[in-house]
Symmetry: C2
Subunit: 334 residues, 2 copies
């Protein structure tokens, strides 16, 4: 339905030069004298010419587009990362295609396949399940630039991420230092094979001299505040009664906090809460939340640098893992 857009051919005909000369001129080749170039550029402007990137991509075998596969863009930390990545890539001249897997492995695979069909130059993926990454490795093995935004040790993949293990360890150490003996890990991803936060918590138990022997894991079946609110009663029913919760997202933590507020469980006296990500809601939610910082800017910056390096490198680069150590932000909930 759209009026055909001008091509090099139209400009060539209007100026009397060949398509080739026009192409060269528009790309400011020094093979073309300034005079000719100006003439051609003027005509291009007059016709409101924009190069057809699809045609260009076909010859160059590069689309200058990267694919971004995220789990759940409603998590503000992931949103922020997506935004930063998009901006940095736009500045570097890359477009971004994006997809959300909604934590379904099938969706993640489909999105990656779609992106590869669309000939993206590389893919940045926040994997749904850290133990199901064969399709990501397969892409890399085929020589395709891929970067994972999650800590995947010994996966042979390039990784830029927060060190969740250390984050969880820090959170639990903090709670132990405050004297807590009955700590719940509120973690929806544990059941689906993402054990690094659990592992970090275990490390804290081992390191602490007088900490608890074990930690209970509760699955909120989702990551929103509503899920946290819904599961709060279950947490407090555990025996012995927990005195502290480490929730793997701030939203979950805020949901628990709201339930406590409404049910006369005081925070942090009756229940201490630590969230994760240091999102805006942790500061402005029902209770100012102690939380584990997610260095979104650093992660985005390094991820973009790395994927571009992978794309532009002539040779295959050895995989590199870059993990940031999160710090704890102590507020009123612990």
């Amino acid at each position: 339905m759209s009026r055909p857009r001008p091509r090099l051919k139209e400009i060539a005909e209007a100026t009397g030069f060949s398509v080739n000369t026009v192409s060269l001129a528009l790309r400011a080749s020094d093979r073309i004298p300034e005079k000719t170039r100006d003439l051609i550029m003027q005509e291009a402007e007059r016709q409101n010419y924009f190069p057809n990137q699809i045609a260009r991509s076909l010859t160059k075998r590069a689309t200058h587009t990267i694919g971004l596969v995220l789990t759940d863009i409603m998590n503000p930390t992931i949103t922020l990362t997506a935004r930063s990545i998009e901006r940095l890539l736009a500045n570097a001249g890359y477009g971004v295609m994006f997809a959300t897997s909604d934590n379904s492995l099938e969706n993640e695979k489909k999105a990656m396949a779609r992106f590869q069909s669309h000939q993206v130059d590389g893919i940045i993926v926040y994997p749904t399940n850290r133990s199901k990454i064969r399709h990501i490795q397969a892409a890399r093995d085929a020589g395709f630039p891929v970067l994972a935004l999650a800590d995947l040790p010994d996966s042979g993949l390039d990784v830029v991420a927060m060190d969740d293990r250390v984050g969880a360890e820090t959170a639990v150490m903090h709670l132990i230092a405050r004297g807590h003996k009955n700590i719940v890990l509120l973690d929806g991803a544990f059941g689906s094979g993402n054990t690094e936060k659990f592992d970090g918590a275990q490390n804290a138990l081992k390191r602490a001299k007088n900490g608890p022997a074990s930690i209970a894991v509760v699955d909120p079946k989702g990551n929103s505040s509503a899920h946290g609110y819904a599961v709060a009663a279950t947490i407090l029913k555990q025996t012995p009664r927990p005195t502290a919760v480490y929730a793997t997202t701030d939203a979950l933590a805020i949901g628990v906090a709201r339930w406590c507020l409404e049910n006369e469980v005081s925070i942090p006296e009756d229940l201490a809460i630590v969230g994760c990500d240091n999102s805006e809601v942790s500061e402005f939610g029902s209770t100012p939340l102690t939380t584990i910082n997610y260095a979104s800017d650093e992660v985005s910056q390094k991820a973009v640098e790395r994927i571009i390096a992978l794309i532009e490198s002539e040779t295959r680069l050895a995989p590199k893992t870059l993990l940031f150590e999160p710090r704890i932000v102590v507020r009123k909930s612990s």
Copy 2:
């Protein structure tokens, strides 16, 4: 750096058929007998063949990709809309390229130009400034399918959006009904030409029998909770002292609420607050917020339907405006 991916040619050579036959077979043409087709499909699978969408796009003159230009993806309502749109489009076989303008007109124009260069089949745009839409109209005039996610009356553009005018009117009517005489509109977009919320508020004043004569506008210089928190003191310093605020995002409202909490201004007795969007934070933030609902699912659904209709129509469609009437969600802040 990547090993060349298999093309139709490789499959053709392996099976002894021509490239054309292979192409037809893989697209399940009934011109090819089942036996041949199976043979070819098997070989394609064996070689792990995926069609090169770039090449296909070049011949078909369609990329099956749409561009999504948003202002600020950190606004959870916009995030949610982006997610829904991406999913609906993925289901319809379309990929999504996205960009955030960060409320800069320049960025918005650049993103649209980039998308058009990438030959997206259509663009969905949440415009930064409702009075600066010439570039959007230009795209439409050139026959390019465009859809705006904001109420742009008489723009000649296709529109799917919430009716912000009615939303603001509802919010202010609600406050007037509660007896408020000094109402502040906390609106960062007003200064940059987006007056529909202000207009809606004015309508409410006109319609109310015993309401205030005017409404003060305060610019928070941003849309986050931090901005709301920072501007709260300024609001309360106005004379006569305001008794109610209508904030144009929930995040702003929550920021104001948090400041009140910390400065012994009780809500809603000393200050009533109404937010906008009914995002999760309105329910779980420092104070459960009265707010104006944003029907993200409906907007996304209709937007996707419409952009696909525009793309697939043989003829140019007359522009259509679809506005949803928001409803008010009354909680504890008013």
